[in-house]
Subunit: 343 residues, 3 copies
Amino acid sequence: MADLRFFRRLGPFTLGEIAERVGGELPDRDTASLTIQDIATLNTASAGDLSYYSDARYLQDLLETRASAVLTSPHFARHAPPGMCLVVVSNPRLAFAQIGHLLYPAQPLEPGIDPAARVDPSAIVGVGTRIEAGAVVGRRAEIGARCHICFNVIIEQGVVLGDDCSVGANTVISHALIGKRVVIDTGVRIGGQGFGFVPTPKGLLRMLQLGRVVIEDDVDIGANCAIDRGATGDTVIGAGTVLDNLVQIGHNVRLGRRCMISGQAGIAGSTTIGDGVMIGGQVAVSDHVTIGDGASIAFNSGVIRDVAPGTIVGGFPAIEIRQWHRQTVQLARASRRKTDGAT
Amino acid sequence: MADLRFFRRLGPFTLGEIAERVGGELPDRDTASLTIQDIATLNTASAGDLSYYSDARYLQDLLETRASAVLTSPHFARHAPPGMCLVVVSNPRLAFAQIGHLLYPAQPLEPGIDPAARVDPSAIVGVGTRIEAGAVVGRRAEIGARCHICFNVIIEQGVVLGDDCSVGANTVISHALIGKRVVIDTGVRIGGQGFGFVPTPKGLLRMLQLGRVVIEDDVDIGANCAIDRGATGDTVIGAGTVLDNLVQIGHNVRLGRRCMISGQAGIAGSTTIGDGVMIGGQVAVSDHVTIGDGASIAFNSGVIRDVAPGTIVGGFPAIEIRQWHRQTVQLARASRRKTDGAT
Amino acid sequence: MADLRFFRRLGPFTLGEIAERVGGELPDRDTASLTIQDIATLNTASAGDLSYYSDARYLQDLLETRASAVLTSPHFARHAPPGMCLVVVSNPRLAFAQIGHLLYPAQPLEPGIDPAARVDPSAIVGVGTRIEAGAVVGRRAEIGARCHICFNVIIEQGVVLGDDCSVGANTVISHALIGKRVVIDTGVRIGGQGFGFVPTPKGLLRMLQLGRVVIEDDVDIGANCAIDRGATGDTVIGAGTVLDNLVQIGHNVRLGRRCMISGQAGIAGSTTIGDGVMIGGQVAVSDHVTIGDGASIAFNSGVIRDVAPGTIVGGFPAIEIRQWHRQTVQLARASRRKTDGAT
């Protein structure tokens, strides 16, 4: 499936190796020697491909798939037609993702600093790290081991980057302490000045922004995001949190762990967001708001008040989501009725 | 009008040449030898300028203009005061745009690869292409003829770019097949990983994103946009579609032909958009939605359901636009009434 | 407080020097010789720090602070516990900002053009300006004195930049006249083509964009913003106006002076905005709209009609803010009632 101009595939693997890798069971032991070359969705798979099935909406695709084998769960295994080659696992989608990483491992880095990169003599660069042409590493910055610093990345003075990080081309980082295994895409701005001004008779005077950005381990940041440093104290992105593209994080925001922030969402200054929070695309969260652990904000909503842990909110201003749905239904009904009456 | 520090103008042209170029008629044949040096809007034009008139709201500007000649349609020609020099065409605004391109043609490229660019020996670069300093072209990438690859552009391995494309400074392209005459502004990210994760007890595991971005001919992409590659299969931008700045296109989105996507709009993953769709500024379209051919989404709206071909929707959640307007009027009336009662 | 890996602090200063600098009074003259080393908020301050108090919501923080001295106003001074060392000023927050700039002055530039920068021989570069590696300055561009042009900045032909400007890494500027003391963050795009097309049977034809961007003195522009040039005539950003990150400014927008435009806001083409306008985060303002002096647009709102001077609007479509609040309360009440009835 994958275009080999862009991806390097390992393998093939036997179905037995694959089952072992994901802790799966083969209902038919004879299938262990089957050869798997690639992964694909049910409706795009062909011979040699492994696919997965964990949602009854795709039953028709399951029945028609040309995949050589299908990852599925004990619950869904009974949907499979007789004779279909299965690997039974507790979480088929997770297993599918894991096999993806097995077939398409990250390409190994060729360590070294390109002669056209500029690394300040006082900077520290870990073993196995690659720094591409045009990149700049400032005074006393510290780059961990096995990092990939892409073309034209600017890492300003004093920035600390942990091991096994990757920073995409044209990204600029200042005033930041960054953990391990952090993946940052291209065009990102980390550590810029927060948006704080004091009105004066002569105009707006910038409040000095004397804080930092602290990014914990295993964070993933999409393209063209902007994360401002704290005014005093830090802007924090918790471990394992992932940001989609074009996300804006204001100064002194505290984002919890394992949050998912979708594309073009914006979190205004000094807002605190708990662990495991889901924020939909283009959501706007106001400043100085608190969002509890496990809360979800529906796509495109605008949050202006605190959100309790575990609740799902939507709309603008965002309210409990079922209430918002009732409102939109009532409004639609009322506007239809009035028109009928007027006709 | 145009500041010649920034623009290079050809000409002058006679009005006869201009009329011929746009298939227009001169009601007064004696005006064919008139000299036209520049174009301008009615209210900013001076002697030597050509302007256009195709909207009665600008009648006063027509009556007061200092333009030497005015493009207009048979319908609107009668608004012109006696003695005004006219060029009559079926579509004055189009003719005005065409004369603009005649007067201000694209500046010719000086072909060549700057010594400070890095083009992999295995890459193919077409005749007449210019690659500026700091640009990087990866392994087995293919750049067509007469392309302009600006400063610090990163074109990763395997990317294919057709003839007559232009890629603005600091743009990064990976995992993409791009057609002819595609114009990409600065700071764009094409081919990044889509936003797909599987929750695991240890955190979020990225679903490998094994697809591509396919951009057809004559597409125009604004500054700082982000277009993710497909998870499996492709993200597609149809021929002749134009994107404004800061637009987000999620993985596996399929955008039709000749769509107009205004600034800061976002289209979430796996959504399908037909041909000739107009999407207003800061619109958010949810994932897995289908928008039919010729539909329009009003500025700032949030689309969470399918939109039928040819319909115009607005609001959040977006509904048929007249119904949305009725709703907003009813709401305004109700909130005024209640207040009156309370006073 | 501030991490000295990222910030360089002057001082210490005596409280007498500080009071003089901000025109403050020391109720207890004996405190003039007290040593101040840093600034901090009330709840993070320790010995040697100066803090400020101008909002009764932080009274508890005032009572518990470890700050050595506190800037406050005549009105709020009476909240201070006996014996607290005070500096009394008319505007404590402003004084705090001023002392911040005293302690943490902008780092002096080391003038010069990096050998790896590319400055066209016909360009003019002022005295004391620094141009970093990878930056490009085009033909006949003019850079003022004491400017800082960071890594990989592209300044295209003819652009004029006043004295004491700073342009962040990877920013691209074309077709622009820029005043003095303008601060531009990283990844910004100034001067791109506006989003104007004419439909033709063969597709969309771009309307030539022959205008400029004019940025007046003391403007501040956040990361990854995009500001398009005028179609004919100019896009204008008035003196002292500040833009947060990821803001989109369409062609021919006229922004007044001392406006504050928060993150991810977008202003569509040909809209006119007065002086001192506040625009919240992720606000969308439609095209061809006029917003009067001193108006405010609440966070996340969508403006589709003119806004009168001095008014505050919110919602989508944005209406007078108290009316919008009444609407949201009425809607919430109605949707609760109906549900109760149904139960």
